[in-house]
Symmetry: C2
Subunit: 433 residues, 2 copies
């Protein structure tokens, strides 16, 4: 039986899971790939560090050249993360004629064009199922399963840390900082959670998903993003009263010929599958013009779920399918058009608005008139008897709009926020029904 020698770059959480699966599932992998897959070499940053997985029989080094320069190794698994020095190493692996399986969304979002051009130049494949949604086979679904569709919209919960924190804030009424602390205590959030909670990680993943779903080249800096770190518990509570739950969504939608892209906390209608994605789980909703609504759900991170996707990709490479998919997709191609972004007058959504208004007669009428004069129609209003809610004579007023153009909404909010009777800048969140 033919033997496939594999190199592993990085033996952190995901790399350990990959080493574990390759060791413990050797028979299963042989049965499904038709070949014997051997982990020959691993590269680690710190040779002295103890790991939770046995690397017996694997040549371990701290020098990536040991993998790059080994002609027997035909597939390299990259689980180092980050873009430097990862990019250079991945480019060298491809130049050395190795296929690359990667879990690295930042690398693809920031340097997809270079990585894919290099792979095409040397006739090799890049497989990246693990880069988005952990073990959920969403890359494959977009690339293969839904290939007969023009995707019209995509809405994704792809950051488990944020979803865990939001779930805690929602279920237990916790403020952001307390929920974050709990997530850190349980290992669902990093000591420095910035890239998760500010939406950067989600934007990286959206750049990959949008590329696949819409064929246009998307760079992370094209994606307006807002994290969960400034979300107020009050907005979660009011959303609940309106029948919605708040999720950090990665959104990509066709608006005419253009593409709307966005990462932001968003109200999602309760009782829909996307709203029921709790804790560290991820999900991607894809609407295709033939298939209609679909949803893909599972664990978005963690050692074994992510390793499941990596080893699935490895089998795909070994069987020879990954190369066919890679060529057919022609991703991040030189001739792929850059995404044409929808302008604010093309973007239409329902909106959740919260104002802090003076508790005096006529204010609601003033706001409603301002919204109306910009063509924005009100679907529902929450204003409770002030009681304890009044602060310095100001009370919260919550308005849910009907579908409105983003440009009109922004004009209306700018006008409203200038009013004397409005104390703080208004809060505005999009709504997905």
């Amino acid at each position: 039986m033919e033997r496939i020698a594999v190199g592993l770059l990085g033996v952190g959480t995901v790399g350990s899971g990959v080493a574990r699966l390759l060791g413990e599932r050797a028979d299963l992998i042989t049965r499904r790939s038709g070949k014997r897959v051997d982990l020959k070499r691993a590269v680690v940053r710190d040779l002295g560090k103890s790991r939770g997985v046995s690397l017996d029989g694997v040549e371990v080094s701290d020098d990536p050249r040991r993998v790059i320069d080994d002609p027997e190794i035909s597939v390299v698994i990259e689980t180092m993360g980050g873009t430097h020095p990862t990019l250079g190493i991945v480019l060298d692996c491809l130049a050395a004629g190795k296929h690359v399986v990667t879990a690295n969304k930042a690398l693809l979002a920031e340097h997809g064009r270079e990585v894919f051009a290099q792979a095409r130049k040397y006739g090799r494949a890049v497989a990246f199922e693990a880069s988005v949604g952990g073990g959920i086979p969403i890359i494959q679904a977009l690339a293969v399963g839904l290939a007969a569709n023009q995707v019209t919209s995509l809405a994704a919960i792809v950051n488990g840390t944020c979803n865990y924190i939001l779930t805690k804030m929602t279920q237990d009424g916790l403020p952001y900082s307390v929920a974050l602390g709990q997530a850190q205590g349980l290992g669902f959030a990093e000591a420095d959670p910035t890239l998760d909670v500010d939406g950067t990680d989600t934007a990286h993943k959206l750049a990959v998903l949008a590329q696949l779903a819409f064929g246009a080249t998307v760079t992370t800096d094209q994606i307006p993003r807002e994290g969960i770190d400034r979300l107020q518990p009050a907005d979660i509570t009011y959303a609940g009263e309106l029948g919605y739950t708040v999720k950090l969504l990665a959104l990509a939608k066709l608006a005419g010929e253009a593409l709307e892209l966005r990462v932001a906390p968003t109200l999602v209608k309760r009782g829909t599958p996307l709203a029921e994605v709790r804790g560290p789980y991820n999900a991607v909703r894809v609407v295709g013009d033939a298939v209609g609504d679909t949803l893909f759900y599972g664990r978005g991170a963690g050692e074994l779920p992510t390793a499941s996707a990596v080893v699935g990709d490895l089998i795909d490479v070994v069987v020879g399918r990954a190369a066919l998919t890679f060529n057919a997709l022609n991703l991040w191609a030189d001739d792929a058009p850059p995404a044409r972004l929808a302008t604010a007058n093309l973007v239409r959504s329902r909106y959740y608005l919260r104002f802090s208004i003076a508790d005096q007669p006529g204010v609601l009428a003033t706001l409603a008139k301002s919204l109306g004069s910009h063509g924005i129609s009100i679907a529902s209003v929450i204003q409770h008897d002030p009681g304890d809610d009044a602060t310095d004579g100001h009370v919260p007023l919550v308005i849910m709009t009907h579908l409105a153009a983003e440009a009109s909404l922004k004009s209306a909010l700018a006008e409203i926020d200038r009013l004397d009777v409005v104390r703080r800048p208004s809060v505005c969140l999009g709504v997905e029904d």
Copy 2:
């Protein structure tokens, strides 16, 4: 550019959708497959029937030999359904060197071994994404995306008719017959709905799914099945009180080395993604030992959703991936072991039980004692003040058990149903948490 000539067998609902996509999406399909895909010939039963799709430029015949004997046609799409004469035609197409894309779960469930052996004999591929779950790429997920996993359990809602009826019964409190009538009126149920509502269609799909997930050959007659046609509204109501909703589930679980297979109305915990699958939607929950819980959701039937899966398969065939997948999977192989079914002492579940008991002292104690003597522990009980519920001095008693062996439960129920104080055979439904 290379041209691929395609033959279409059957232009009913799904076949029309396929013809429509091939016509309207020619550019998209070319972009994703790298070849020009032409629908050359279609075979229909009744040449005189008008269809909702244009077949201009397609040679239409009522003779399948026109497709089988055309050497230019390299891929045949089978959307005739049924097993006779479909089986013979499909075997002839394979013998004539054509790849086959099929949406036919009955054909695979009943004759998978013959079809796949023929394909292997002639070096051709069979692709069948559309056979289960309509447009949901669940076949591909099991065959490729989750290939690094040993699947440990699978729970699927794969009959849109039943799910629509159950949703109506649940939301509007309708009896089965009324909900069925509404489903028929809206086109969600056939005039003769027997194969849907008695669980046969679901069992066909489970045979396909279980084959993929567990590698063992499963035949439909190995699957105990119970439909929704005898389900009482009362059980949906009591399930709701306990925090559950009732779904027709296809279940396949590893129980030690053996496999538990079952199609039955089952209580599913509310707030879980599977419980929120409403109306004609389908979903498949797959638990893998590496990936954990996953769920795949979408429209399970209909012209375009199913055609989405068929044309996705067609692209997969044209690109050359389908043949690699087909060979790697080695499905319905001669050397594949037949599924070893779990005996009733290996199957463990929580159970929902409803008894009709005499409204007199000591009856609850008698039943509880009988359950206890068989090692079955009670998790919760519902017995309402009789009021209007009492019929002939009998009242309903609902019990939810903790995990129990099926064998013990059956013994206990047999004992209880013999008691004088119990009026009717007890109702017993499984529970998925």
